[in-house]
């Protein structure tokens, strides 16, 4: 059987309606859908905002508690910083200083008996000695000892004198030491 579509209502012809009625038609048919969609989005945004707000509030409480804990540990922080600073300062001081006993031990180990040291000056990794001996061979032995010790960079002879009356060989040497 053939289907017959009967519509007794007069068909609205939008283009023939005045602007006010055309707008009303659109609001009733389509505008409300758009408004509902936007309202739904806004409601979702509101819920999301509420959830964010509660999360922020919880975190703020936690942060406040933690700040109080940090405040109570402020002494520890200050003490730790002071200790760290002092350790760094002590390291710097030790680096720029030297240990005289190392140099003296070096001399004791390498200066042969028979050489009398009259003056020792230790400064900035440089060792200056003035000494005398009756035997020049001992001077040679001493230089050999210094060179073979592996602790010297340069050995410079600053002056040497042989006293004909006293028969003493006096000398001044400067030894540049390695970092010890």
């Amino acid at each position: 059987m053939e289907e017959i579509d009967i519509n007794l209502l007069p068909k609205t012809e939008l283009e023939k309606l005045p602007v006010r009625k055309r707008l009303f038609f659109w609001i009733i048919k389509y505008g409300r859908v758009i408004v509902i969609i936007f309202q739904s989005i806004l409601i979702l945004l509101l819920f999301y905002k509420l959830s964010l707000h509660s999360q922020i509030n919880d975190l703020s409480d936690t942060i406040e508690q933690k700040v109080e804990i940090v405040k109570s540990l402020s002494d520890t922080e200050a003490q730790t910083r002071e200790v760290q600073k002092k350790i760094a300062q002590a390291k710097d001081i030790k680096k720029s200083s030297f240990i005289p006993s190392i140099y003296i031990t070096f001399l004791r180990q390498n200066v042969p008996n028979g050489i009398a040291i009259e003056e020792i000056i230790i400064e900035n990794g440089v060792l200056k000695i003035s000494a005398r001996s009756k035997y020049t061979t001992l001077f040679g032995e001493m230089l050999e000892n210094f060179a073979s010790s592996g602790k010297t960079i340069d050995i410079i002879l600053l002056g040497a004198k042989f006293g004909s009356e006293s028969e003493d060989f006096t000398f001044d040497i400067e030894i540049k030491m390695k970092n010890i």
């Binding site: 283009e15 758009i34 707000h53 922020i56 975190l59 936690t62 942060i63 520890t76 730790t80 400064e123």
Partner: protein, 187 residues
């Protein structure tokens, strides 16, 4: 321009005209609602999100700080003796009396005689990063071995001393050592 639009409109049939009208109105409404309703809402949410991210960052930083401070507290307890030594090496005041007592003690212990001890004047005071350096020089007499013992004790003392120069001279039987050094304290 207007006549061109009118000409185009006259070419459209009824259905097309209806569709275009609905579409134009819909787009106009969506734009208006987006600008005046949706945008402010999104702005507020975005600012809340930013706040949350910042709060989370602050919270994690505080957690790390607390953790580190607790560790530091344990370390301070563990190394209490060493810290005491460090504070004696670089005290918070010059404490000249303690230095003098220490030198006198070392001298007595090593059988040497301190003939001169001098704290340099204000001109030689150096300050760097809260660390104050005071020059200290002293002359000591004694036998060679005793002078070496004096120097050794000086090196091993509690107070940190930076030795800048040591000059040992022998005049006849007397050995004299002149030591130029610095002591330190913090403010």
């Amino acid at each position: 321009m207007i006549s061109k639009a009118t000409r185009v409109l006259s070419l459209l049939n009824k259905t097309e005209k209806k569709a275009y009208t609905i579409m134009t109105l819909s787009l106009f409404a969506i734009s208006l609602l987006s600008i005046f309703v949706l945008a402010p809402g999104i702005k507020v949410v975005a600012s809340f999100q930013k706040k949350l991210v910042e709060a989370k960052k602050a919270d994690s930083q505080l957690s790390v700080k607390i953790e580190n401070l607790v560790k530091a507290q344990q370390q301070l307890k563990k190394y209490e003796a060493e810290i005491k030594k460090l504070n004696s090496a670089i005290p918070n005041s010059l404490s000249q009396d303690i230095i003098l007592k220490r030198v006198a003690f070392i001298s007595a212990e090593s059988n040497t005689i301190v003939t001169e001890i001098k704290f340099e004047g204000d001109n030689s005071v150096k300050e760097e990063g809260g660390l104050i350096e005071i020059s200290l020089s002293f002359n000591v007499n004694g036998s060679q071995d005793n002078i070496f013992a004096f120097l050794k004790s000086l090196e091993e003392g509690d107070r940190l001393i930076k030795i800048r120069q040591v000059a040992i001279r022998k005049d006849e039987d007397i050995n004299t050592v002149m030591i130029e050094s610095s002591v330190f304290y913090t403010k």
